[in-house]
Symmetry: C2
Subunit: 383 residues, 2 copies
Amino acid sequence: MKAVGIIAEYNPFHNGHLYQIKQIKERFPKHLIVVAMSGNFLQRGEPAFLDKWQRAQQALSSGVDLIVEIPTGFCMQAADRFAFAGVQILAALDVEYLAFGSEHSEYDFMELARQAATVTGDFKKFDQSYAAAYQNALQATLGIALNQPNDLLGLAYARANQQLGEPLKLVPLQRYQAEYHATELVAEQAIASATAIRQHWKSEQQALCQQYVPPVTWETLKMAPTVVTWDDLWPLLKYKLLTTPVSELAQIYGMSEGLENRFKTIHEQLAKTATYQEFLQLVKTKRYTYTHLTRLTTAMLLNFTQQEAAILQRQPYMRLLGFSQKGQKYLGKVKKTTPLPIYTKVGQADKEGLLNLDYRSGKIYEMITGNAQDLKKSPLRYL
Amino acid sequence: MKAVGIIAEYNPFHNGHLYQIKQIKERFPKHLIVVAMSGNFLQRGEPAFLDKWQRAQQALSSGVDLIVEIPTGFCMQAADRFAFAGVQILAALDVEYLAFGSEHSEYDFMELARQAATVTGDFKKFDQSYAAAYQNALQATLGIALNQPNDLLGLAYARANQQLGEPLKLVPLQRYQAEYHATELVAEQAIASATAIRQHWKSEQQALCQQYVPPVTWETLKMAPTVVTWDDLWPLLKYKLLTTPVSELAQIYGMSEGLENRFKTIHEQLAKTATYQEFLQLVKTKRYTYTHLTRLTTAMLLNFTQQEAAILQRQPYMRLLGFSQKGQKYLGKVKKTTPLPIYTKVGQADKEGLLNLDYRSGKIYEMITGNAQDLKKSPLRYL
């Protein structure tokens, strides 16, 4: 039994994700598909539109054999560290290939990673974001434009794979139709970006979304109109900003260069009716991307501190979300040799120890949806 | 110009309070009436049903000449310390008499205070609350039953007055009709307890409340159906309990004997649908009164720490909420000699300094009602 791995967020699971699974099955008909997915808070600092169990169910119904959760502490990091955690987990699950969507599937990503390793510097120009400065330096070294979101993620996977001794073979899959950040739904296509689907769902154009998601996602969306967005969490963040001294906000993971003062001051001057998005626009400067700032608001919301991050960083693990029959057999085999702990349940001691951040994230998510996320939850079985 | 003082919470201002003001005016027709009132969170740990400006307006329309706010840090203390802060503020406003309702207006409260001063001990019997143990010891010393809520408050005022060198003369006024804790509304009476009024308002029997409150309160209640109760604040408290480590909860003012563990553990085991009241019932033991525990939940909600309490304790002050024409003149006179700072506005520096707890309390209250409480608010003028 061999497996192809995917690192995903499925926010929500749509036809593009289904298409990717079909591509993999055509190319590797005898392989299982193993997914490492983020939990209830995503790498770009957003709460997941649907919870991790709903998204895992959608993946299992769509041909995935084994799905595990990447710990929240790793999801709440910059893209390269998130990628590293995903690669590390898939390698620990003895996956042979890592498949990922790419705008340029013809590139040799491992070779690009070797060249990119020579790009160094601190990229601290105060008139542009770190990400932009890094991309400019990267382009100068590689001699090609590597600035599309999926290509950059592919490079991050390749670099992580390199650092881990190349346990995985990389399989870039050509992206089909939708641009990553596209916000339009195109009537004659079956694939739209997750961003476009979320935006149309939120703006009450929900019926329009049906053609872009598989029936299992559509049924979940219709059953659970409580999708979670920052608008739902905004009162809690306001409360947090109000009651937490600046000195304590400075301890939040990723907080730097006095940003805690900026968050606090702007929050205090905010109009009563201001939305989360309006708040973020006021905080935004050229120096920081929206993603970085959004991720910081999540870190504040979850009270994710530098100290907690340092502890988690040293102890990678994964949480089992679900499996098919084949996936269950595969898991039984890899369990014997995997170097990382695989949690199948969250017990009392786990929730107070290493898994406390995951537990807190789930409880905050549950405050909005009413659906329990961790304690007493068993992995999904798709048999 | 001389004045009679009242220490009040007005939660909400009702006919019993109006009757008290009339009693004072009959007895001291030439005196002004000065009120020291709690702000948006009350001594028993509840959010005020109506905000401090609404309650100040009700008092001013009902014959009060000057009304100031007792700082939140003093309201969030045991009854004897709250009483001390009230007496200290009224003394600083050069008030001659302190009037208060009492179940036994014939008692000489200053004399009782002198006897009560000899009651000592630590009252730490684990089968009863501190309050109950103290009351038993008190009764043994005084030889009379002093266990009614207003009598006990009267004794607390008397003891504070004694400690401050007796700046005030005490005027106990016989309580009329409603018991302090009564929950019934009696149809043929015009006076009901604040507790009964709040409970009937909350249980949708709102029309019943009209006969027990003056028109000004009735109009406010009708205009602002957003009265604030713990039910409104419960999501914020749950978030706070979820995201705050036990070691940090232990720093909250009034937290002792490992209660932080009890709060945290019970919160974690709570059913999803549990209400604030159900939570409190689970936390309750014989050792602690509901009031003590409720006050602790407010301290957690406001993130009121032992450190902050220690700083506030050393720097008493008052906040001006409103005045009549006579009250304005009186204020102009006492301002020249008062030993305590009187804040007429909350500026940027105040809100980040000494008045930060008041500011935070107001902002949390505002999250429910949408009405600003501090910055840019000027005292009410009833001319």
